[in-house]
Amino acid sequence: MTLGKTIIEKIIQAHSQDEVGPGNIVWLDLDIRSARDFGGPNVVQHYERQYGNTPLSDKSKTFFTFDLCAPACTLKYADNQQICRDFARRHGIQVFDVDRGIGSHVLIEEGLAGPGQTVVGTDSHMNILGAVGCFGQGMGDVDIAFAFKTGKTWFEIPESVKVVLKGMPSPYSDPKDLTLFMCKELGTRSIALRAAEFCGEAATSLDFAGRITLCSMITEMAGIVGFVSAEGPPSVLMPALLSGEMFSLYQADPDALYADTIEINVEGLPPQVAVPFSPNNVQTVAEVRGTRIDSGFIGSCTNGRTEDFVRAADVLNGKKVKKGVMLKIVPATRRVYQELLERGILEILFQSGAIVLNPGCGGCADGHAGLTGQGEVQISSGNRNFSGKQGKGKTYLASPAVVAASCIRGEIVAPEEF
């Protein structure tokens, strides 16, 4: 008897000769393997030490994406990016350079990462690709160097968990509020080392940007990857439309085996904030209302899409960021930047006093905007607020709309107050 398969099992089975089932270790064929400006130079070093000048398994499936320190603002990153560029030229690999933005997003926009595919990169949020039904996985530089050479990786098939959302969040809530609430409810245990499939209207009604937000924080819930059912509004097909290609989407079989089914009530869910120093330490905005802030950040792989900045601009339109407060804005990609330009969103953000920077990761590492000094309190649309990560200050995580509202007031506040 063959049991039905979950989404991850179907994707992996289509890329492996080995029998797929929870706990099985299989060899997986990779459609795309990539490295960033962080991890990339280490991949090059491993590759050259291990394989010398021998060719990659497939240069057309191998990419560099620079997004952490873009353009390089330290000498070390400038060196490291050039190491990758030189390697790329020698091997004929395409580089999505410092002008392009966050690698995982660029791969979607380019039609390289799509439904049913397998993609790896030196980015722990590569599982964000679950948003488009793609099996994405972040890996270290040894794994990626091996993948560059062989086009394969070993993988232990995780158990799958069904997360059923009941009810609909408050109309004042954003996908980020839903996502932070998942971080609270699921913690780092419920879906740890497992694949999650989100069901229920609150999940399936999420648009492309909303799915990106939810799936980007599976890593903070210690999960392997998260998927949303393929049912949903037409905008879910946006990645296919972006690249001009249509994709087939996998659905779990009705008799697929799940390790657990978790029901979470999200009816009327109000805006949420993750307080220092954990993304899983989540309260309602109402509970932390009035907390003084020095700075705000809107961007990151979690909330760097056009839809995110539109929500922020709706709050900021005709208003000013409070004097003494810095609001830093980093579009995820150049395409997003262009959309913001064409739709007049950049004008609104600029007039509000926000600082708009070039596309990239921002905030998550030393090398881009969104760092904090000792004593500074930041509210950010990013995905991590671990102690010391973005600097010695404290970081609260919230939706773009909550960040925007808080920057107008100079303290944490819900957007519905404007």
Binding site: I25, F38, G39, P41, N42, Q45, H46, Q50, L68, T74, K76, Y77, D79, N80, T122, D123, S124, M126, G138, M139, G140, D141, V142, D143, A145, F146, K149, T150, W154, E156, P158, T188, R189, A192, L193, T219, A222, I224, S278, C364, A365, D366, G367, R384, F386, S387, G388, K389
Partner: protein, 180 residues
């Protein structure tokens, strides 16, 4: 064939109140300010440089020492440096109830022993393990003994693929064996 029995002094990563620290993330193990470093030999001094109470670990650690940590060790980023910095310090192994998926893979691929020890908390509560004790662990059998206190305990043995990569040395060497 690589030795599968490890022996060394243990460090229990606890906070000031003596509680085992859970969810230690890669920015606490190897901070992003040092991500530009590609030479493993230079990574050791930055190990645990952002983990409160443990910033002096590189000075305290000696070859073969083993680290015992709370669940979900290595949460966060995909950086291999969070493994490499411990290899650079010649740390013998990390034992924890669970690891983040990426951290675990990175360690396995580098041939660095990471071992699951599901009942670590009860072992600590029962004073069966304390920092400074010398333990011996067979990574493939999962048998372990606290030599200081003469107490036997169990760890999860390495999986088949983990054992194969460990024995080969690292993923690259294992790949060469597969090609033969």
């Amino acid at each position: 064939m690589r030795e599968t029995s490890l022996k060394g002094r243990i460090w229990i990563l606890a906070d000031r109140a003596g509680r085992l620290i859970e969810d230690i993330d890669t920015d606490q193990i190897f901070h992003n300010a040092h991500l530009h470093i590609t030479d493993m030999a230079q990574m050791g001094p930055f190990a645990f440089g952002n983990l409160e109470g443990w910033k002096d670990f590189p000075q305290k650690c000696k070859e073969g020492d083993m680290i015992l940590a709370g669940r979900n060790f290595g949460a966060g980023s995909s950086r291999q440096q969070a493994v490499d910095c411990l290899i650079a310090l010649k740390v013998g192994a990390v034992l924890a109830p669970s690891f983040s998926a990426i951290y675990f893979r990175n360690a396995v691929n580098s041939g660095f022993p990471v071992l699951r020890i599901p009942d670590l908390k009860s072992l600590l509560d029962g004073k069966s393990l304390s920092s400074g004790d010398i333990i011996e662990v067979d990574v493939t059998l999962g048998k372990a003994r606290n030599l200081t206190r003469d107490i036997a305990f169990k760890v999860e043995p390495m999986s088949e693929v983990q054992t194969k990569i460990f024995r080969a040395g690292n993923l690259f060497e294992y790949g060469r064996i597969l090609e033969k």
